[in-house]
């Protein structure tokens, strides 16, 4: 399972403050601790705090790279912010571009731009593409799958290997009127999107979104993650400090025969997963 640690995000108050104070230590601690906890990638999102988003992205990337060699997931809806991060990143460690829709009203070619940036970043770069287009976030299964098909086909046209593609079928908060059908829709979409090509693209979700505004957030996150893994989800942006959540990933992967069982399966999961 490719776990993307969500904590280095300007939406969290400690990170927001660290960005404002240029406090490297806070960021570097988060980077190291998330790596130890099993993160394969560290999400890097400048949030809304800084006026200079490009400069802040570069400062975050450089700060993290001083502390560890973990792969980074550059998280922004603005191509110029991602591009700024790519300028200072050591792409040999691996980099994930997060994320692009199929297209936008303001920018029909946005997916092309992201694929182009990923291609230029070298062979260890990957891309998260959302099943979303200029009409917004689809609510049903079929539109999600149709958008994913267009994304996969575009990637193939541009010579971008499907194994470097992460499709995010977009998890919506369950506590929204009439949204309770959405988790099941996402699961069905995962089943179908994985059949679009062989080998299948990676499937990822921003997990915490599902419990937005709800009570028992952690429980909702964990249970949905276990179910989604059984449908073939192989990546997620998560709070890797949630030890029980990582244990659930280890157990789900073991039950799905993705990891060979041993009596110490929980203990070694982090080490094995980082292989």
């Amino acid at each position: 399972m490719i776990l993307i640690g969500e904590r280095i995000n300007g939406m969290f108050t400690d990170v927001k403050k660290a960005i404002a104070d240029k406090n490297k230590q806070v960021i570097q601690e988060l980077a190291k601790k998330q790596t130890e906890a099993g993160a394969s990638y560290l999400d890097v999102n400048v949030g809304t705090a800084a006026a200079d988003q490009e400069g802040t992205m570069q400062w975050l990337v450089e700060t993290i790279q001083e502390a560890c060699t973990t792969a980074l997931c550059l998280d922004s809806q603005k191509p110029n912010v991602i591009e700024a991060g790519l300028k200072v990143i050591n792409a040999d460690n691996g980099v994930l571009l997060n994320s692009t829709p199929l297209n936008k009203k303001s920018d029909e070619q946005v997916l092309d731009k992201y694929i182009e940036m990923a291609n230029q970043a070298g062979p260890k770069s990957s891309l998260i593409a959302l099943t979303m287009d200029k009409n917004g976030v689809p609510q049903d299964v079929d539109t999600r799958v149709a958008i994913a098909a267009e994304i996969v086909s575009k990637a193939m046209d541009l010579g971008f290997d499907a194994q470097r593609l992460f499709i995010d079928p977009i998890v919506l908060p369950v506590k929204v009127p009439n949204a309770q059908v959405q988790p099941a829709n996402v699961l069905t979409a995962i089943d179908q999107i994985r059949m679009l090509c062989d080998p299948a693209p990676h499937m990822t979700v921003g997990l915490s979104n599902i419990s937005q505004g709800a009570t028992e957030r952690s429980l909702i996150n964990r249970v949905f993650l276990a179910i989604a893994i059984s449908h073939g989800l192989d990546s997620a942006i998560v709070d890797v400090f949630d030890k029980e959540l990582v244990n659930i990933v280890a157990t789900s992967e073991m039950l799905m025969n993705k990891q060979i069982y041993s009596d110490s399966f929980l203990k070694v999961y982090t080490a094995v997963n980082k292989a």
Partner: protein
């Protein structure tokens, strides 16, 4: 119909291990052996993804075997009393890549020899041949824990392969193998879950995973080879899938297991063909089958079987 090309890629690699320490590396070996490194299944992928050539370790027993059939004992009849000469014969006449000293004689139910005997045999063989050694206990936990640490010490710095450790008995030998700079054989009873666990246990003691070779237990042709094959295959696929706890090269004990089969040794068996050929064929068939599952070291006994398997290896891994 054309044979389709298998092009499935994998992310993991089997660890590459070099056994034996030459003078420059602080040992006395005149040659080393490198195994592992596979990035695909045996017939899959490109040439670059192939493993190093698998190797043959020929068995030398620490004491004269009492139960070997004549067909097998015949080839070694002059040296069965002298492990040093025996080892020399294996290397010089039969082309052994490695010599495996099997300490059957220390077993309490056999000769019950003590550590001094085992140390003497080890020194004798080290002196007689320059190839790297495999040092294999008798299988009695208590006796192995008494004797094998002394054997390890006697070969300190030679980068031998020593074993075996199991889920229930791993601490003594793991600690001494670590201290003496050897490589370790982790054993499991044809059980992939225990195989992984014993690797984890050794690793928890600080033993580097990169210095472990796994022994999943071996079944000969007609005696469980399908279990042995599928478990070796499962290990290999886990390694190629990136499971670091399963990424070790593997060793099989083909000689001992094949010659236990009645089909290999029964003299009076009309309709089964000559027993002189039957035994070596049994051993060679078992070895070749397991090589195709991705095994890296094969322990063998009969020179004819060894020659057949060497030929097979040279054809496939050229």
């Amino acid at each position: 119909m054309a044979v389709p090309e298998i092009s499935d890629g994998f992310t993991g690699t089997v660890n590459r291990i070099t056994l034996g320490a030459t003078k420059e590396e602080g040992g006395t070996r005149t040659s080393t052996v490198t195994i592992g490194g596979a990035r695909n299944v045996v017939y899959g992928g490109s040439i670059e993804e192939k493993s190093e050539k698998p190797v043959i370790a020929i068995d030398v027993l620490d004491s004269k075997p009492e139960d070997w059939p004549d067909v097998l004992a015949e080839s070694y009849k002059d040296v069965l009393d002298s492990p040093g000469d025996w080892a020399k014969k294996c290397v010089e006449e039969f082309g052994a890549d490695l010599v495996c000293i099997k300490f059957d004689g220390i077993h309490p139910d056999k000769a019950d020899y003590d550590a001094d005997h085992a140390v003497k045999v080890t020194q004798e063989v080290l002196k007689a041949v320059g190839v790297p050694l495999v040092l294999w206990g008798c299988g009695n936990d208590e006796k192995d824990n008494q004797v094998m640490p002394k054997v390890s010490e006697a070969a300190k710095g030679e980068k031998c392969l020593i074993g075996t450790v199991t889920e229930d008995n791993y601490k003594a030998l793991t600690a001494i193998a670590l201290a003496d700079g050897h490589y370790l054989i982790t054993e499991a009873p044809l059980d992939i879950n225990i195989a992984k666990q014993v690797n984890i246990l050794a690793s928890d003691m600080g033993f580097p995973l990169e210095r472990i070779i796994t022994f999943q237990s071996t079944g000969a042709l007609g005696y469980g080879i399908e279990y042995a094959y599928s478990i070796q295959e499962r290990q290999r696929l886990a390694a190629l899938g990136g499971d670091k706890m399963m990424a070790m090269p593997a060793i099989c004990d083909v000689g001992y297991e094949s010659w236990r089969a009645k089909e290999a040794k029964l003299v009076d068996a009309p309709g089964w063909g000559s027993h002189v050929d039957r035994g070596p064929m049994w051993e060679a068939a078992t070895a070749i089958c397991l090589l195709q599952a991705g095994v890296d070291i094969i322990r063998m006994r009969h020179p004819k079987a060894i020659a057949t398997v060497q030929n097979f290896i040279n054809q496939i891994w050229r």
